[in-house]
């Protein structure tokens, strides 16, 4: 293939260009994969910008999973029943697993995990702003599961079809677990909203605090999201921020009714014409200020991550040294 002509849609993508093929041939092959809605794999040539965009997105996603463990870990030791404690532990553990899958996917793009980790620890990489809010009460475990994991599902289900193979496949595994996470959040809130007055109040208060930030998890409004279009052209993103946000609101309104809880937005109203719920404006100033580091827990979250990393240094070093000594001994035995 030497021209940049798009492969006809119905025919399969031709064989990958041989090693040493011209830049045009590589670009054409990549374009054809995207046009065909096929998968780009680590061995395939890809534009530098595609690689960079994905590395940023996948590693930010991984960082979010890891930082996101902290607000929920805050309640593991105080969970009000042993069953809830066990479920919450399993959930937070899953999030660590998600971080691992995603770091592995990011590594296939050429940046090693320890470099990505340094970017996080040095404050050069971002993670989802929602995790800079405190988890103050047990009901927050419900609100986080229901709203935050719920928003994550809306975001992530389309990512299962992302053009980059390792990312899409990681998302398939992750989405399965996220639906369990949302369900446990729902169950927590359901118990609370059907419990004592104090429990109901706790549940409503948590939803009041997490609803707005959860809606902001989809990113800024489309008009203020200049990079979205490129990601959509590359089949990384399938729906715009506002489309996903709308989908989420439409999903949550009836669920909130079933829970007997109120979403803290007086403007929510069914719009017959659009076939969607209308909703009120979000506080984007707050969103941007949290991203800029002014969130209630930004410093605390980073401090915890750095402390875990620093205090674990001697452990990782010992493990590496032990592995080296073992390999050496093995080599000696083989050479003897």
């Amino acid at each position: 293939m030497t021209s940049t002509e798009k492969t006809p849609t119905l025919s399969p993508v031709a064989d990958a260009p041989a090693a040493g093929a011209s830049h045009e041939a590589e670009q054409a092959y990549f374009d054809a994969l995207i046009t065909e809605d096929s998968r780009v794999e680590p061995r395939d040539w890809m534009p530098e910008k595609y690689r960079k965009t994905l590395t940023r997105q996948v590693s930010q996603h991984a960082h979010s999973e890891i930082i996101g463990m902290q607000p929920e870990a805050n309640w593991i030791t105080r969970a009000p029943s042993l069953k809830r404690k066990a479920i919450l532990m399993a959930k937070v553990q899953d999030e660590a697993g998600h971080g691992l899958y995603l770091y592995s996917a990011a590594e296939t793009l050429g940046t090693p995990r320890h470099v990505l980790n340094e970017q996080l620890l040095e404050g050069r990489a971002k993670y989802s702003s929602i995790f800079n809010y405190p988890a103050r009460t047990w009901a927050d475990m419900g609100a986080i599961g229901w709203l935050v994991d719920g928003a994550a599902i809306c975001n992530q289900v389309p990512l299962c079809r992302a053009s980059y193979g390792p990312y899409g496949r990681a998302m398939v595994r992750i989405c399965k677990e996220e639906s369990f996470h949302q369900r446990q959040g729902w169950e927590i809130l359901y118990e609370l909203s059907h419990g004592t007055e104090a429990q109901k109040k706790m549940a409503q208060d948590a939803v009041n605090r997490f609803y707005g930030p959860a809606l902001q998890m989809f990113g800024p409004p489309d008009a203020d999201s200049p990079n979205s279009q490129q990601s959509m052209n590359w089949n990384i993103k399938r729906f715009s921020n506002d489309e996903l946000r709308q989908r989420f609101v439409d999903m949550m309104v009836p669920q909130a009714e079933a829970l007997g809880l109120t979403l803290p937005d007086p403007d929510i109203k069914w719009n017959e014409e659009r076939g969607h719920y209308d909703y009120g404006p979000l506080d984007w100033d707050e969103f941007h200020s949290v991203i800029q580091g002014k969130g209630p827990c930004n410093v605390q979250r980073m401090q915890r991550r750095r402390a875990a990393h620093d205090e674990g240094a001697w452990v990782r070093e010992a493990a590496a040294e032990y592995a080296r000594k073992n390999a050496e001994q093995h080599a000696e035995l083989m050479g003897a």
Partner: protein, 275 residues
Amino acid sequence: MSYASFESATRHSEGESIIAEDIATSGVQASEAVARYALALGDDALMLGQRLAHWISRAPELEEDIALGNIALDLIGHARFFLTYAGTAWGKTEDDLAYFRDEEEFRSVRLAEQENGDFGQTIARQLIFSYYQYELYTELMKSEDPTLAAIAAKALKEVEYHQDHATAWALRLGIGTEEANRRLQEGLYYMWPYIDELFYDFEPVAELPGVAVVPSTLRARFEERLHATIAEAQLQVPDVPQARGGDRSGVMSEHRGHILTELQVLARAHPGATW
């Protein structure tokens, strides 16, 4: 007795193995003595599970967040079995027993209550405790009480993993670097004084021949295997005196109250509530 499996959103066990809800709904009722025995084993698992859970999001690497979280989760699972079973004697639930007993009513060994310290100290505690539990459950599987035997069979599979995890880390830390060797050795010194209590023949063991495992009978095998691992990891068996008060009463423990303060705070703020 059979424990049929059923579908549940929150069920972690797979297949035919026992889960806490099965015990609660099976209609079995532990005798007073069996309940007091089960309570002690449940309290051990609960205290250590609670301690280990604190590592989640703080471990030296992500893989360890997952591994220590797994172990903590297993232990909370074991606590749920034993406390549920104990509760059948008194018409109480696992949560009544975990959340609404006072400090002096717990029967945990002090080893399980010791602080996490650094990773070396935690691994020292894991090493001792998992080797002990391995011997305990291996014997308890043969109990004439089918519920205790079923719990032990399930727990043993998981404790085998806990033991492998602790052993692998003992070797890495002991042989890896001088600093790691020193830290793990220190951890062993801190934990060693509480070993006697693991093998204390507490009441009601004597009342339950063939049902309860006599702790003192486990010691020889435990020591043989643990000392071998310590030597392989290029560490020393600490030569330190045993701490007095090794009778599971908690009278000689400062840690138990702090653990319970955190564990129970929310449940006790809302007595009678369901979650």
